[in-house]
Symmetry: C2
C-alpha cells in the first residue's frame, strides 16, 4: 500500500513570486510533479509550450471545457487558465504528489473537488507597495495592466483566509523553506500514512 498522494496548490497575486517559488521547489524536492496548465494567454519570453503552459487557442480551450477535461478553469485578466484533470487524478491514485500553480478562483474549485487531498498555500508579497515595485520591474506589462493587477491583488488577498497556509515571500530562502516544510509535513498527515499503521495491525 503506498501512502496517499496530495495536490499542493500554490496561489498568489501576480508578482508575489509564486512561479519562482514553485520552480525552486520542483528543483529541490523529489517526488513531486508539476501540473502543466492550459492557457489562452500568449507566452512570455522564455516560456515553453508543454513545460510552463500548454498554450492553446480560445477555441481549443472552450472545447476542453465542453468535454469536461478541466479540474478547474478560470478567466484571469481576460485570459483563460485551466488544469487538465487526468494527470492530477492519476497521480493521486498512484500515491504521488502534484504541484498546481494556479489562481485563487481555481484553488477554491480544486479544494471543492478534491477535499482533503488538496493542500492550499497562499503566497503573500511583503506589501502592496513592494508588489507594485516587482510588477514594474518585470517590465512586460503596460501601465493599465499593472493597475489592473494591483486592484486584483487586493481582491485575491481578501480570499487568503480560505487557504490552509500562508507563506510571506519577503526573504526568498525562508519562503521556499516554509513551502518545502508544508509539503513535507502534509506528507506525514495520519490519513495519508495508513501505510505506516498497516505494519502494526
Amino acid at each position: 500500500m503506498p501512502r496517499r498522494g496530495l495536490v499542493l496548490v500554490v496561489s498568489a497575486p501576480s508578482g508575489a513570486g509564486k512561479t519562482t517559488l514553485c520552480r525552486h521547489l520542483l528543483q529541490e524536492v523529489r517526488d513531486i510533479t508539476f501540473s502543466v496548465s492550459c492557457t489562452t494567454r500568449p507566452p512570455r519570453p522564455g516560456e515553453r509550450d508543454g513545460v510552463d503552459y500548454y498554450f492553446v487557442s480560445p477555441e481549443e480551450f472552450q472545447q476542453m471545457i465542453a468535454r469536461g477535461e478541466f479540474l478547474e478553469w478560470a478567466q484571469v485578466h481576460g485570459n483563460f487558465y485551466g488544469t487538465p484533470k487526468r494527470q492530477v487524478l492519476e497521480s493521486l491514485k498512484q500515491g504521488r504528489d502534484i504541484l498546481l500553480d494556479i489562481d485563487v478562483q481555481g484553488a477554491a474549485q480544486v479544494q471543492e473537488v478534491l477535499g482533503q487531498d488538496a493542500v492550499l498555500v497562499f503566497v503573500l508579497p511583503p506589501s502592496l507597495e513592494e508588489l507594485e515595485r516587482r510588477l514594474r520591474k518585470r517590465n512586460t506589462e503596460d501601465e493599465l495592466t499593472i493597475r489592473r493587477r494591483l486592484d486584483q491583488a487586493q481582491g485575491e488577498i481578501a480570499q487568503a483566509p480560505k487557504f490552509d497556509y500562508l507563506v510571506l515571500n519577503d526573504k526568498f530562502k525562508e519562503a521556499l523553506q516554509e513551502l518545502k516544510s508544508i509539503l513535507f509535513a502534509e506528507r506525514q498527515r495520519t490519513f495519508r500514512r495508513q501505510d505506516l499503521l498497516a505494519k502494526f495491525s
Copy 2:
C-alpha cells in the same frame, strides 16, 4: 499582533525514540520551549530535576491534581505524569510555541482542552521487534517491565489514528527532519498567521 502560538504534542510507545527526537528538535529549532512534566517515577541516570522532569512525591502529585494545576495527567506503568497548566497557557497567549513530550492518554486530553492550538504527532518505531530490541538495549528495565511496555505499545499504536501526524523513527535524521517540518508548517497555518493578513486590511 504576534502570530498565534502552538503546542506541539509528541507521543510514542516507550522506546520509539521520542525523547531523543524532542531533545534534538529543541537544540536545532529556536523559539520553542520544552514543557517540563511532573512525575512520580524515580529519575533515570542522568535525568535532572526541573530540566527533564519535576520529580515529585505521590502526595505532592495528588495535591496538584486537587488544585487543578494540570493541563493533563495520567498514570502510566504505575507512575503518575502530568503537564503543569500555567506555562503552556502563558506561552500560547504570548504567541510562543511549546513542546510536550507526553503519553497517548495525555495527548488526547490536551487536544480536548486546547483544540486547534494543539498539534499531535505520533512517533512510530520501525516495528514491534525493533521496539523490543531498543527496550532491551536500554538495560534499565527488568523482563516483566519490558513485557508490560511491549503490550502497552500495541495499545498505544492503536490510538495513533487520532493523531494529526505520524513520524516513523527508522532513520533518525529523516524522522527529525519530518518533526521539524511539521512544526515549521504548522506555524504557517492561516489561522495562526492573522498577523500577516493584518498588514493588508
